[in-house]
């Protein structure tokens, strides 16, 4: 497959991970075997990391689902900068996302848990106690409006006429 088509494949899969390879082949005007081979290559190269569904958990469970974004200031380590402390933090199962940031703090840690106490315990007993961590500021997420480009609770109907010029 050409580089352009490979890029097109990635763009489609980013938003429609479940789409069948037969449909993908038609969309790309390509042979299905080539699509399968390209997907395998992208998986092997770790370009495609997983095929996930974006879930609005508020609609399927009554259990509490707490998420927090924690701003973390750290002391960078000689030779490895922020990478070593980041590697330690990302291993905690509570951490769902981790980014190195510019600005007033260094790492942005996304944590998800069942209870606010659980998240607080993680911050106080695990995150803050790391040697390189200088300070933390925790922000609890109150509501999710948009995630990964997808608007939650969107109810935009197709308002077009059924047949038009």
């Amino acid at each position: 497959m050409t580089k352009d088509k490979e890029l097109e494949l990635i763009r489609i899969l980013e938003h429609h991970g479940r789409i069948g390879t037969d449909v993908l082949a038609k969309m790309l005007d390509e042979n299905e075997d080539n699509v399968n081979a390209c997907m395998k290559k992208l998986e092997d190269e770790k370009v495609i990391l997983s095929y996930a569904a974006l879930i609005d958990w508020t609609k399927v469970t009554t259990e509490d689902h707490i998420a927090a974004m924690i701003d973390v200031k750290v002391t960078p380590q000689r030779e490895v900068g922020f990478d070593e402390v980041a590697a330690r933090i990302q291993r905690f199962p509570e951490v769902t996302a981790l980014y190195l940031m510019s600005g007033t703090y260094d790492l942005s840690v996304m944590v998800e848990g069942q209870t606010m106490e659980g998240v607080a315990r993680f911050v106080s007993s695990k995150l803050s106690t790391l040697d390189a961590v200088l300070s933390t500021t925790t922000h609890f997420r109150l509501k999710k409006y948009k995630h990964d480009g997808v608007v939650f609770n969107q109810d935009e109907k197709d308002r077009r006429m059924v047949v038009s010029p």
């Binding site: 449909v23 038609k26 969309m27 935009e156 059924v162």
Partner: protein, 397 residues
């Protein structure tokens, strides 16, 4: 002679002869049939399935908040005309003077009407490459002129040929209406093919009304603006708008670029009939041109993938379908079912609840084909093509 010029059996004395002589759009009947049908999947929609980009909507609202509620100049905001001029030069390599050669219109539809009325006299003939957008022939008739369809049908890959055009020319021929990428066929014509048409236009001193509303939706080749062809700038009226590229159909905002004598004549009609295009829409359009180009590219990429899908799926379903190079329509033949296009579309709607538009409503060259718009979701396309496949298998001869 076009069917639109046939005299009605009985004339309502309160109506003008011109109006009595034209039929309502054939699309209307299918709208009425499909409108109240539940679970109907529509491939009959001739407009983008995207909502106008947010920055465009926001700019229009901001204009309202700031009190931009009065008329603009007849030709449209100078700022917008300048942006149109820069856009045409940058995107399609054709420059127009925003002062004298650009008019902002109420949709490309008004621009077509203005072009015909400003340049054509009663009794003149206007050649229309068909199948074509449903308005062209009636607008010619309403101006008192005579539309002369020239087949750009399946036998020429839905392209207009020099030979067919020349065969249709008479002493009364004054202009040609072209639209590539085409609605309903999706056909595009490259610069070499268009140059052949340009040579005929020059040889017979014809004006060319080039409706390039789908120019941004050209998938495999760069769009050629007709006025960039040799000697064509002075005899071309370039018509375009914001509806298709920027998903702004309901805003009714188009524009026309032409030599000053033609635009000034068009402006007379525009100023007496409509005064100017809506002000808030013009502010939105300005934002679209300034900051909407990346969004157009994203939408075009999405249409391209859906085009690929539907063409393969229709062919697998048994309907022979060429790869359209532009717009957002596939135009398969329904010959395999033995039905004419009207019957096919009506039966498909009744049996499978899939709305398509019969090709014959776009002119004689569209007979035996149906227009399938792929400006709809991939989910809808998959269901629709599966239903079409079931229908064709039941009726294939």
């Amino acid at each position: 002679m076009s069917q639109n010029t046939v005299q009605p059996k009985t004339k309502n004395k309160r109506l003008s002869r011109a109006v009595s002589n034209i039929e309502p759009s054939g699309i209307r009947r299918f709208f009425d049939l499909a409108a109240n049908m539940e679970d109907c999947i529509s491939l009959g929609v001739g407009e983008p399935d995207f909502v106008t980009p947010w920055n465009v909507r926001e700019a229009s609202m901001a204009a309202l908040e700031q009190g931009y509620t009065s008329y603009t100049s007849n030709a449209g905001m100078f700022e917008l005309r300048t942006a149109i001029s820069e856009y045409m030069l940058d995107r399609f390599d054709v420059g127009y003077d925003p002062e004298e050669e650009v008019i902002v219109t109420v949709g490309a539809s008004e621009a077509i009407d203005l072009a015909v009325r400003a340049t054509i006299d009663p009794g003149d003939e206007v050649l229309v490459a068909t199948p074509a957008f449903v308005s062209y022939e009636p607008l010619v008739t309403l101006s008192g002129a005579v539309p002369v369809p020239v087949a750009a049908d399946a036998s020429t890959d839905f392209k207009l040929t020099k030979e067919r055009l020349e065969a249709a020319i008479t002493d009364r021929s004054r202009a040609i209406i072209l639209s590539f990428p085409n609605n309903p066929t999706g056909a595009v014509m490259n610069d070499v093919e268009l140059q052949a048409i340009a040579e005929v236009a020059e040889a017979h001193d014809l004006l060319v009304f080039s409706d390039e509303i789908y120019a941004e939706l050209s998938y495999d080749t760069e769009h050629t603006a007709f006025s960039t062809l040799e000697h064509m700038r002075d005899r071309t009226v370039l018509i375009s708008g914001f509806s298709k590229a920027f998903a702004m159909t309901g805003w009714r905002l188009g524009f026309v670029c032409a030599p000053p004598d033609i635009t000034q004549a068009m402006l007379k009609i525009h100023q007496y009939s409509l005064m100017c295009a809506p002000t808030q829409a013009q502010h939105g359009a300005l934002e679209a041109l300034r900051n909407g180009r990346g969004i157009v590219e994203k939408m075009t990429n999405s249409y391209r993938a859906r085009r690929n899908y539907i063409v393969h799926a229709l062919n697998e379903a048994g309907l022979s379908c060429r790869f359209p190079g532009g717009s957002f329509y596939a135009f398969p033949s329904v010959e395999v079912t033995g039905m004419d296009d009207e019957t096919f579309a009506e039966q498909l709607l009744k049996e499978e609840k899939v709305a398509v538009v019969p090709g014959s409503v776009f002119g004689k060259g569209g007979e035996g084909h149906v227009r399938c718009s792929y400006a709809t979701s991939m989910d809808a396309l998959q269901i629709a093509t599966a239903r079409i496949e079931a229908f064709v298998h039941r009726h294939a001869q």
